[in-house]
Subunit: 218 residues, 2 copies
Amino acid sequence: MLFLAQDADIAPLMPPATGAAAIPITSISLKPRETLPLGTGNGELFYLLTEGCIALTRYMCDGRRQICDIIGPGRMFGFAIQGESQCMAESMTYSTIERHGRRTAWASLPDEVGRMLNRQQSHALLLGRKTATERVATALVDLADQFGRRVKYTRGRHVDFPLFPTRSDLADWLGLTLETVSRCLHRLRRQRVIEFTRPELIRILDFEELERAAGLRA
Amino acid sequence: MLFLAQDADIAPLMPPATGAAAIPITSISLKPRETLPLGTGNGELFYLLTEGCIALTRYMCDGRRQICDIIGPGRMFGFAIQGESQCMAESMTYSTIERHGRRTAWASLPDEVGRMLNRQQSHALLLGRKTATERVATALVDLADQFGRRVKYTRGRHVDFPLFPTRSDLADWLGLTLETVSRCLHRLRRQRVIEFTRPELIRILDFEELERAAGLRA
DNA sequence: CGGATATTTGACTACACTCAAACTCCGTGG
DNA sequence: CCACGGAGTTTGAGTGTAGTCAAATATCCG
């Protein structure tokens, strides 16, 4: 199938010109708590997380931090289309990333950009209108989805997942303080919705109840 | 210039096939407080606001509302790429919108999508980490940018703009209550940063101070 | 003028924040 | 092996910012 572009200046999301030199796929390894600035993007570079966990963070001039998204394996980020994204990528654990150019990233870009936009809007709803417990519950639903493995037991289904972000990271994601996050997790545990013996290994006992606590169900 | 697409299924942000029937540009007029659902988008339809003011809203199942963005003339929205956007567009005043298909929207899509993503991330920072007064100040800076006309006076520069969202709309945008929004506006007025005699006509007296109050400057 | 809607202002409350201390979990080195 | 130290987490007590409820005022429009 053949497409004709009327204007060569509408670059960023355009398909790569067949003659242009392709940016090779290169692999990047990050240790926990390393940082990858995304500001330089000119619409040429995209990143695919193949393993680990990455946070997209923004900082205010006085140092306040907001985590815009927590990213799990299989997701793309760094759509620094036009201008700078003002976001940094921070690894929450050992992570590997593939750097792609337009040519190799092209096919998945629309879906990934759309997914990102949708997530940012859901997150605005969380930050603007949900209570502390609802926020924490919503976060757990999301992380279970991105990092969870379903485990079948004799009585019901559990979901286990590693909680890569610390309490402080969760706080910066959810617009709370780390103490409040800890208290909400405690509450959900006391209600037998989740359980954990180590703070970074979560088991969801009652997924429906968790979604209810997250404000996702009546 | 000629581009070759390897896969016809990577549709949404692809350039329109030259042979395909183009969706004509049609114009939509909205009265204040009308609603345009965006959920149906299949990556074929995009909207350009040519006049007025539109809010992108999300609702929780219990009715809580979050305004994800306030949109002024010249901006595009409705990138319901893959799946539904779960957002509605609500007019804040008399507005006219152009409905575009892929063919006519194509050139501006990358910039507009990037702008939207950037705004959503800034908004997350606002909702998660800014105080009430900072949020209101940030909103005024943004709205002045989208709706303001610079007016030169003998002493300094003022910016006047019509405030299309009500106090309640601002509250739903900023994650506050309408009373808090009103109190913050009052405070900024008492500090002579802004002034208004009618509640929907704002004049910014000291733009630098407003940006400082918004947490955008040291 | 009258009635509806939006805004302002006040008094009180509560949810989440701040500050502080204790506890757990690790890895390291004596 | 145990002691030590550091980072992260939990828990508690008290505070403060923004929310709630309510009433007064302003604005708009027939």
